[in-house]
């Protein structure tokens, strides 16, 4: 009897699981999604709206791929999971029986019960449907003269950039003192904030949403902030974070908290039912990681791991050093290890900061005050080599070593300016050191990379 694995959700987590199960076994695989017939890259939705890419290009696999690899796709909504019968109840299709079930339903935007939040013209940005809605509600500056974006996170700044690309005036409400300063050290946050302003975005820090008002046409007409200001607008984009999309699990017997509770093997409390990606909540988070990580790559890694568990041997989810990246308008950002904001910084964590005098280029390195061991780094407007920095973190290199060998870590296009000398100058003078710049060494870079494999 061939086993049947059903995956709910065709995002990066679910699809990675499906692909890896297919690589390792001949099981029957069904992927169910209510959102879209085929896997697409959620992270690229902004580029569709901005006209950088057609929607088809957001699909990482051509449409024939699924049939060829015998991965069955079903566009439907799961209403209920009957775990004791190992069955899924669907909206439009007869019930489906499974042997293994992987829940990978991702997130949905969080709304915080603002008056007027259900009005037409108020929306989040997460799904394909949200994108289609935005295209209707804010196609151009004629239909949408001003938009208010609420919440200063990664989706917020994306939304602001998207609307700005269509010449729509944007007011961007951020609760904190600086944009994203709950995550970034103040200096980094200020750099981004300044850049957002330079694009003509009306960024308002220390400002939050109180109420959304209805106009005579029944749509959004204005908002009031907690600070008492009234802003006339045609669209309110809510980007105050996301939460696991798990409402349909209420009566399933699957234990949930904010997300679906899973152990290190990504198993839920019910046998043969797994949860991965944004909707999973780790009961024992790894290191300083959060229990729910709504990040692209963790979803992908969980997909790889769960496939391993289902097809061969039980494998724990063991994410390595934290890393992430983003782009704030024109500023690329990469981070490795932990660089905490002042608010969350543990006592032992010290920061070294370098910033280019006129360009949007900066580097912040977090290190242990005592041992000077590298804890993490943030780079802005400067690309850095993941494998090498990951290795430095594992080897526990100190900050002087890191800066001396900084040329090895750079991942900018060839001929780009390396600011290593400037960085070292500041480092040496502010900490009274005499670290010498080491020449970039291909053998050091590549040896360290190949040894790792």
């Amino acid at each position: 009897m061939i086993k049947h694995t059903i995956i709910i959700g065709n995002g990066i987590s679910g699809i990675t699981a499906a692909r890896h199960i297919r690589k390792k076994s001949d099981q029957r695989i069904t992927v169910i999604s209510a959102e879209s017939p085929h896997f697409f890259s959620r992270t690229a939705l902004m580029y569709v709206y901005m006209g950088h890419m057609p929607f088809t290009d957001t699909k990482p696999y051509e449409d024939w791929f699924w049939k060829k690899n015998k991965i069955e796709l079903l566009q439907d909504r799961v209403i209920e999971i009957a775990t004791e019968k190992k069955q899924l109840i669907l909206e439009n299709t007869p019930a489906l029986a499974y042997d293994n079930l992987i829940i990978a339903t991702g997130s949905k935007p969080s709304f915080y019960d603002w008056p007027g939040q259900d009005l037409p013209g108020v929306q989040g940005l997460y799904s394909k449907q949200d994108l289609d809605l935005l295209e209707i509600q804010a196609p151009n500056a004629k239909t949408c003269k001003r938009a208010v974006v609420v919440g200063g996170g990664l989706i917020g700044v994306e939304l602001a950039e998207m609307l700005h690309s269509r010449h729509i005036a944007v007011t961007f409400l951020v609760r904190e003192n600086e944009f994203w300063d709950s995550v970034l050290p103040t200096k980094n946050a200020a750099l981004i904030g300044k850049h957002i302003l330079s694009h003509g975005i009306d960024l308002r820090t220390n400002t939050s949403l109180k109420e959304i008002h209805k106009g005579p046409d029944g749509r959004v007409a204005a908002i009031t902030t907690e600070q008492g200001e009234n802003i006339i607008c045609d669209l309110v984009g809510i980007s105050t974070g996301v939460q696991p999309n798990i409402d349909f699990l209420k009566n399933s017997g699957i234990r949930t908290d904010k997300g679906i509770l899973v152990n290190r093997y990504l198993e839920t409390n019910i046998a043969q039912v797994y949860a991965i990606g944004d909707c999973a909540q780790q009961q024992e988070p790894t290191g300083l990681r959060r229990p729910i990580e709504a990040v692209w790559y963790t979803g992908r890694m969980m997909g790889e791991v769960v496939a391993q568990s289902i097809c061969s041997q039980k494998t724990p989810y063991k994410p390595g050093h934290w890393f992430n990246s983003a782009k704030f308008f024109d500023i690329e950002y990469q981070t490795y290890g932990w660089v905490h904001s002042e608010r969350r910084k543990p006592e032992y964590e010290a920061h070294f900061n370098w910033q280019h005098p006129n360009e949007n280029i900066a580097l912040t390195i977090a290190y242990d005050q005592e041992t000077e061991t590298l804890l993490g780094l943030n780079s802005f407007g400067m690309r850095t080599r993941h494998k090498l920095i990951d290795r430095w973190l594992t080897e526990g290199r100190d900050i002087s070593y890191v800066l001396a060998h900084w040329a090895d870590a750079l991942f900018d296009p060839e001929f780009s300016t390396s600011y290593q000398s400037d960085i070292l100058k500041i480092f040496n003078s502010s900490l009274n050191r005499s670290v010498q710049k080491q020449k970039k060494s291909w053998s050091r870079i590549f040896n360290s990379l190949t040894n790792k494999q």
């Binding site: 950088h52 057609p54 790559y297 791991v305 001929f415």
Partner: protein, 538 residues
């Protein structure tokens, strides 16, 4: 700013209209002197043609070049007919018969019309060459620059600015794109197959041509000059668009330099010095007629320099090109030096997103591009065989006809009409991807023996697909990047745009040790699955 740009578009369109109108304008009055020059230049020995032409053409005023061409076609037919009949007459000696046959004119009447028309042109354009230069080239260049330069401000702060590419008619295969497609295709068809229509263009470029090579402009001078002008103007656009990226700035400067100096100025100046004109960077088999006997003979008869060119040409293909590809990848040629690449990277840049990324296209690509390489090699083998043995055919096929079909199918139709004409619809590297035999050859080296790769930055890829969309060679870059696998593909020309458009800093073009260059990864970086366990399972 908008106003300035609108004025720019307006001026550009006037320039374009004038340039187009030149095809149909111009008057021609043939005199005896010009006719004699034609007869001499084209080695016409038919006295029948001469007397007929003197009677029917000399002193006649033609309002259109097509009428002159029609008359010439008729004259050639008539005189050839008379010689054929004369040759068939009985009682003629072998010698006399041969002489009659030699009087037959094989020259294309379009070429004859070009030669005769060029010297016989009269009228306002001929009398006001610089005025018409300014009305066509001048306004075109000025208008284009007025449209492009304000982008320094309109594009906003430096960075990747691809906003609206898929919303705009011009860059999303709208009717304007189809219009550009039709215009480019017509331009190439005219240039290759109806040269007599280009007479007025050559006239207005004569002054520049005299300065450079000491003679009047040919249609190829027009083409070379336009090529440089278009590249310079569109390079300004590249400089603005990618002003944050030094790799792009240097690369653009490099292709510009090689086009203007190596492909254009040096050959023109060599002509002036009565040396064999050659483009030193143009490598066989892209330079497919390098081994044609006329070229070999010219080179061998040109003394030391000719021999140097011959040796350099062979070394370029056999040693310089592959060694450089080993160290730097084929990008050093395709997107830093090559003229075809240069046009694709400047004029073609707005259309790069239209290359198809489907697996089907990749299959077609491999068959076609390698097919052309085989064709080029076989043709050259036959050519060399004929050159050394004196046999005009190989295995019953005439070498000349192989050469002719290659020149027509690959040299003109594929590289020109399709290669550039199809930019707005199929992307800017149609020729380089599907047709260039040199690219196919370099591709082998790059794929199997090179230090070049596009490194993928660990696990940072978010599968957004910008890299694939903007790959002009139709490589599905994302397919590799999202697996953490370096991109090592024979077709990659190393333009570096995938790395430039990546929002997460995932891609970097670089060269390093060959070991570990191709790195299929089972589990991506960031996931500390025990690799020992993973290996033990296998």
């Amino acid at each position: 700013m908008k106003k300035i740009q609108q004025i720019g578009v307006f001026l550009f369109l006037i320039g374009l209209c004038t340039f187009t109108a030149l095809v149909f304008l111009g008057d021609y009055t043939v005199n005896k002197e010009n006719l004699n020059k034609l007869i001499q230049d084209k080695n016409i020995s038919s006295e029948a043609f001469e007397s007929l032409a003197t009677k029917q053409l000399v002193g006649v005023h033609f309002k259109k070049i097509s009428s002159l061409e029609h008359s010439l076609t008729a004259l050639v037919l008539q005189s050839n007919q008379s010689h054929r009949e004369a040759a068939k007459e009985k009682g003629l000696s072998k010698e006399a018969r041969k002489t009659e046959y030699q009087k037959i004119i094989y020259s294309d009447s379009k070429d004859l019309a070009f030669e005769l028309g060029k010297t016989s042109a009269v009228g306002p354009i001929k009398e006001h060459l610089s005025l018409f230069w300014w009305l066509s080239f001048g306004l075109g260049i000025l208008g284009a620059l007025l449209f492009i330069v304000p982008q320094v401000i309109t594009l906003g702060p430096k960075g990747i600015k691809n906003n609206g590419i898929y919303h705009q008619n011009t860059t999303n295969r709208g009717f304007i794109a189809w219009g550009v497609f039709a215009y480019l295709v017509s331009f190439y068809l005219l240039l290759y197959f109806a040269p007599h229509y280009s007479i007025q263009w050559t006239l207005i470029l004569d002054p520049i041509s005299y300065i450079l090579n000491g003679g009047p402009a040919s249609r190829w001078f027009v083409y070379g000059f336009m090529y440089c002008v278009v590249m310079v103007v569109m390079a300004v656009r590249m400089y603005i668009k990618y002003r944050h990226n030094k790799y792009q700035l240097l690369r653009t400067t490099s292709v510009l330099f090689f086009q203007i100096v190596f492909a254009f100025l040096i050959p023109e100046i060599m002509t002036r010095l009565q040396l064999p004109a050659t483009d030193f960077k143009n490598a066989f088999p892209l330079d497919y007629d390098f081994f044609f006997s006329w070229n070999l003979k010219t080179l061998i008869n040109s003394g030391g320099l000719g021999v140097f060119i011959l040796v350099w040409g062979i070394l370029l293909t056999l040693v310089v090109v592959p060694v450089m590809v080993y160290f730097f990848g084929k990008r050093w040629y395709c997107s830093w030096v090559c003229g075809c690449g240069g046009l694709a990277e400047t004029l073609g840049d707005p259309y790069r997103q239209h290359s198809s990324k489907s697996l089907f296209s990749w299959r077609v690509e491999r068959w076609l591009v390698h097919g052309v390489l085989v064709f080029a090699v076989l043709m050259t083998a036959a050519t060399l065989f004929s050159f050394f043995t004196g046999n005009s055919s190989l295995l019953g096929i005439r070498t000349q006809s192989i050469q002719n079909s290659y020149s027509f199918l690959i040299g003109a139709v594929f590289a020109g009409v399709i290669g550039t004409g199809f930019y707005p619809i199929f992307g800017n590297r149609v020729w380089c991807r599907f047709g260039c035999p040199l690219a196919a050859y370099l591709g082998f080296v790059q794929r199997f023996k090179s230090r070049f790769r596009i490194s993928v930055n660990g696990g940072q890829c978010i599968s957004c697909g910008n890299c694939s969309t903007y790959c002009e060679m139709g490589i599905d870059v994302r397919a590799y990047a999202q697996k953490g696998e370096n991109i090592v593909r024979s077709s990659c020309v190393g333009c570096g745009i995938c790395a430039a458009v990546c929002p997460r800093g995932v891609l970097k073009l670089e060269q390093g040790p060959e070991a570990g260059r191709i790195n299929p990864t089972e589990i991506l970086l960031g996931n500390d699955v025990s690799l020992i366990d993973l290996l033990n399972q296998k």
